[in-house]
Assembly symmetry: C3
């Protein structure tokens, strides 16, 4: 048994869940937020038999797309009288960040 | 040290937390939702010494009950003029889905 | 690769995230709640190369502080006519509770 922890963008979460459950996989959705951009995203927990890990990763790849975000960098702390013109910065947010964890014991109660 | 990740139904979460903390166990509650029914549920994180894993699982079994949910299946995409009468479908939602993970290092700061 | 799961107090989360991202670490924030005090806190997921685990723990130590909370104990179930005067109880809430998990496979999609 493996526990797949996948951080995905909110706009991909619904399609990904449909694709996973349509193939009989089970998943739990947790609302989360990025540590850098502080924008809301989704962390999925997907417990699967080890031999299905590769298929789940393939489904994640097919349903999660990387996007470019233009963000205003955090205002630095200014000296009095200093001007600061924020140029939006381009940040590439990937489709998914995935951690596969080994499960020592799995129970359905 | 083990990290127990338990997905339980919202209506069992409060009783389960009381039972765990009454016996001195520590736990953290995360609001989550099922990938299939999209209904809110609760994911508990319970870090325990390895020799207490079985006792925590026993407490989960005693406090989490499986229930039958009647849900309307998702409307299929219809051709014009076609009628669709949704018969509610019976879905059995288990008491808890539990993953026990090995912890390489544990710190209380 | 390691997945660091750190439960921290809400008031430390912002400073900790700034310190982590300023040093190039990546993190995801999940809103959570303590099982005992039922107060909201924050669970951070930080995936790092193994050789950076100690540095991340150092940053957590520098940014998370233990605090004393005065809480009213849960009202015990009373017999009719019995008086109950709740003396607030002092509870020490630590800076952070941290679990380091081994990651079998890591993917950025
Ligand atoms: N310290 C830093 N310095 C410079 N640039 C930084 C940075 N942290 C993040 N970024 C950039 O900003 C994007 C959004 O990061 P955020 O933390 O909001 O949202 C992240 C975070 O919620 C999660 N994530 C990514 N790597 C993670 C890791 N190692 N551990 C935990 N969560 C991670 O996935 C989301 C998307 O990440 P992705 O890497 O595709 O895209 C990241 C990355 O391109
Ligand atoms: N391997 C796993 N990994 C991660 N989370 C897991 C999991 N197995 C169960 N869960 C979590 O536990 C909840 C209850 O699952 P249970 O299997 O008892 O009860 C399930 C099951 O009887 C059924 N079900 C779930 N996925 C299905 C699927 N792909 N096809 C058919 N039936 C499904 O619907 C009930 C509710 O499912 P829902 O997804 O809304 O809610 C799930 C999900 O949040
Ligand atoms: N092994 C573990 N597994 C999962 N999550 C863990 C954990 N240990 C700590 N946590 C998380 O960290 C928060 C702070 O825990 P700490 O031990 O510093 O501070 C704790 C501790 O001093 C005390 N406490 C917790 N559980 C207790 C219990 N069963 N009996 C007596 N005191 C308890 O109350 C404070 C607040 O606890 P609360 O549950 O509200 O909030 C906890 C919980 O969300």
């Amino acid at each position: 048994m493996r526990l797949i922890v996948a951080v995905v963008q909110g706009s991909d979460a619904d399609g990904l869940l449909r694709a996973l459950t349509a193939r009989g996989f089970r998943a739990t959705q947790v609302n989360s937020a990025g540590g850098f951009l502080r924008e809301s995203n989704v962390t999925l927990l997907v417990g699967v038999q080890e031999e299905h890990t590769a298929e789940v990763l393939r489904i994640v790849k097919q349903n999660c797309h990387s996007r470019t975000r233009f963000v205003n960098p955090l205002m630095p702390i200014m000296e009095p009288g200093e001007f600061y013109v924020a140029n939006p910065v381009e940040v590439q947010v990937g489709g998914a960040t995935v951690f596969v964890l080994e499960v020592e014991r799995y129970e359905r109660i």
